[in-house]
């Protein structure tokens, strides 16, 4: 089917991740794949609001943190399964997402981005100071209880959990590209006034997109908390984390389904590689990947705003023209 052929890249990537454990049992390699998939999924979630709806937020860590804290609090205080936490996280994130969605209707471009940063910082302060609820700055260690229901899994199982989520988010993005709602979002993204003139309920569409994005982010936040085992408010609500979700998508190709995952492969591998090479050699050099980060972001945004997928498409178009 010609339609499925468009997804060959995704199939190849996800397929490779799926068979990797058959080729190696190396814990570090598998762990890195889990991280690539998780960061990819988080970026895909961001992409729903930032790429498809054009609402660039630099505060998505708000939802990530909500999901992480929901998991941690539910498992430690209520002794319930993290899946309950996941649902709770989604509920709260939808609420928070609605607030951000409201802001997206009142504020344009850069003002909106600023307000999302402010929002995430408010959550950070609340989480780090409200000791009664969150143990404050000390964070929350997430207990590891073996079992699927408690998400106490080994590396292998985590890989497949992350893979399922990543594929699911990819499919959601594809659905957005092809569905009526997705076309409406595209209209809103390109020219909101024109879209309104055409009868699209642009304000509602934006709120739905942002809320969906928030819920998706929160779910992975819950998974992350269970995987890593420690929730630190200064990390889960941090601005660099929000930037990272957006960055992966931009570098990979914002507004494309595969973009966030390509970006994640590139950035996460680079980060892991530099850390592995430079730790202990010259401390501080491990931070070089962040300098590259910044430089690549500037260059990509200026010269290749469509990211890796854009470059690939251009190369392909040129080669097709050359053949003609």
């Amino acid at each position: 089917m010609p339609e499925l052929r468009r997804h060959w890249a995704a199939a190849a990537l996800f397929g490779a991740a799926a068979v990797a454990p058959l080729l190696t049992r190396d814990g570090f390699f598998l762990d890195s794949i889990v991280l690539i998939l998780m960061w990819g999924a988080l970026s895909a979630a961001w992409n729903v609001a930032g790429g498809y709806a054009g609402q660039v937020s630099i505060g998505h860590a708000s939802f990530f943190g909500i999901g992480a804290y929901a998991a941690a609090l539910v498992t430690t205080r209520l002794q319930q399964s993290p899946f309950v936490g996941m649902v709770l996280g989604v509920v709260v994130s939808v609420g928070a997402g609605a607030v951000i969605g409201y802001l997206s209707n009142r504020l344009k471009g850069p003002y909106f981005a600023l307000s999302t940063i402010a929002f995430s910082q408010v959550l950070l302060i609340v989480a780090s100071r409200w000791r009664g609820l969150t143990s404050g700055s000390e964070g929350i260690p997430v207990p590891f209880r073996p079992g699927l229901w408690t998400l106490g899994l080994g590396h292998l199982a985590w890989l497949y959990v992350a893979l399922v989520v990543a594929v699911l988010y990819y499919l959601i993005e594809v659905w957005l590209e092809r569905s009526r709602f997705g076309y409406q979002l595209a209209g809103v993204r390109e020219d909101e006034d024109a879209a309104e003139a055409l009868g699209i309920a642009s304000r509602r569409a934006k709120v739905i997109a942002v809320t969906l994005s928030a819920a998706l982010t929160s779910i992975v936040g819950t998974l992350w908390a269970q995987y890593i085992g420690f929730v630190d408010p200064f990390y889960v609500f941090s601005v660099p984390l929000s930037v990272r979700f957006a960055l992966n998508s931009i570098i990979g190709g914002v507004g494309t389904a595969i973009g966030p995952y390509l970006g994640s492969i590139f950035i996460t591998s680079l980060e892991t590689y530099l850390r592995a090479t430079f730790s202990g050699v010259k401390t501080g050099f491990t931070g070089i990947y962040l300098i590259l980060y910044g430089a690549v972001l500037i260059l990509v945004v200026r010269f290749a705003p469509e990211g890796i997928t854009g470059i690939a498409a251009r190369v392909r178009a040129r080669s097709l023209r050359a053949r003609a």
Partner: protein
């Protein structure tokens, strides 16, 4: 189509290449993993922690190494909790270590020890103070340093048992104000102190304020408020320049109190405080690792020699006296050597057996500690001797417990600002 495929293959190969390298240790070497925050916000402390480890490693190797082999490190950079877990995995899988040590900070040791536990690797913590660290029922996790509640506990102990009667007041008559930077360290210590002050001694808490230390340039609103509340004791956990700022502004505002007590190697516990204020900084008490006045003679002879060697090596390497991070890492590593030499193996059961069998009296390690581990892997608070230091003439002098030191505490109560010479 083929170009795109090429791009993808290159991407995939780069991933594999990046992650595929494996390093093998040399024979005659015993390698352990050392996980520290070397980049990111905790880097300046993580770096010192690592230095302490490296210096002690060289001293250990001069004294026969570990289990007869040379001790070597595989270092990982734990920038944040995700990195901590990822690097722990790398050290275990790629470097093949069976023991991981580190990680300096409470927010990192949780993630790092989790990652280690899932692969059944021994985790030997020498610094983080999170009280919940040892409460997870993990058999492979051990900590040589006491938990943060211990610091708060000691501070209040000192105030109640050694200061209050010198003001001619009973502990429950004391008015105490708590001020603290808001990281996990500050909150942990302060909350423990608050709890003990109230529950064990009935002290009257007049204020409890947290602040973000790096973005605070003016304590005046707080000081003005505290002046009116008139505390006898200020319990201030500071992290950096905030100590200097608060002390100076208290003087500017003529905010008088009978004593200020802090805990830890940051803020008032940093040599920087003395450098900034000189004799103007006289007076604050700091719960920390021993400083000048410390009777090295109070230590057992082997510990004395090791202490001298350690201090000299740190001075040679960094050009300054050891910071507390050095003094936590060094002895922690030495203790690991002691355990491994006794167990003669890094097999978890034998290792654990050796750990539990240790019963070393106070004064045996180079910082004056003793060792006795509880079932949950925590070195017991009673064996971990902490010291109260006081700033006297630009130096932090050990003033308590008195059997360990030649110096004595001065200016109790503090009196007017210009009268402390």
């Amino acid at each position: 189509m083929s170009r795109r495929l090429l791009a993808l293959v290159v991407a995939a190969l780069s991933v594999v290449a990046a992650l595929a390298a494996v390093t093998h240790g040399q024979s005659g070497e015993y390698k352990i993993g050392v996980l520290e925050p070397l980049t990111g916000p905790l880097a300046f402390e993580g770096k010192r922690h690592l230095e302490g480890y490296e210096v002690m490693r060289d001293l250990i190797n001069e004294r026969g190494g570990v289990m007869g082999k040379r001790l070597a490190f595989a270092v990982g950079d734990a920038t944040d909790p995700t990195a901590a877990a990822s690097e722990a995995n790398r050290l275990i899988t790629r470097e093949g270590v069976k023991i991981i040590t580190g990680t300096y900070s409470s927010t990192l040791c949780g993630a790092a020890s989790e990652a280690a536990s899932r692969q059944n690797v021994i985790y030997w913590e020498t610094s983080c103070v999170d009280p919940r660290f040892a409460q997870r029922g993990l058999k492979n996790v051990f900590r040589t340093e006491i938990d943060g509640t211990g610091f708060g506990w000691y501070n209040v102990e000192f105030i109640a048992k050694h200061l209050s009667h010198r003001f001619n007041m009973k502990p429950n008559q004391l008015k105490i104000a708590f001020l603290s930077e808001d990281s996990s360290y500050g909150q942990g210590v302060t909350e423990a102190a608050r709890k003990r002050a109230k529950a064990d001694f009935g002290m009257q808490e007049v204020a409890a304020e947290y602040y973000a230390f790096a973005s605070t340039n003016d304590f005046t609103p707080i000081i003005v408020k505290l002046k009116q509340l008139n505390p006898d004791i200020v319990h201030h956990i500071a992290r950096g320049n905030d100590a200097v700022l608060f002390w100076r502004q208290s003087r500017e505002q003529s905010f008088n109190f009978k004593a200020l007590v802090h805990a830890g190697a940051t803020g008032y516990g940093s040599p920087d405080f003395g450098k900034a204020l000189g004799a103007d900084g006289n007076g604050p008490f700091v719960l920390a690792e021993p400083g000048p006045g410390f009777k090295v003679e109070g230590l057992k002879p082997d510990a004395q020699k090791l202490e001298h060697d350690f201090t000299d090596a740190i001075k040679k390497r960094t050009g300054a006296e050891p910071y507390a991070s050095h003094r936590l890492a060094g002895p922690g590593l030495w203790l690991l050597k002691v355990v491994l030499d006794q167990a003669k193996s890094d097999d978890l059961d034998k290792f654990r057996g050796a750990v539990m069998s240790l019963d070393i009296p106070v004064g045996s390690l180079i910082n004056g500690w003793g060792v006795k581990f509880a079932e949950n892997g925590q070195n017991a608070n009673e064996r971990v001797q902490h010291y109260m230091l006081q700033w006297q003439n630009g130096q932090m002098v050990t003033v308590w417990p008195e059997e360990f030191t030649t110096a004595r505490a001065k200016w109790i109560p503090l009196g007017a600002w210009d009268s402390r010479k």
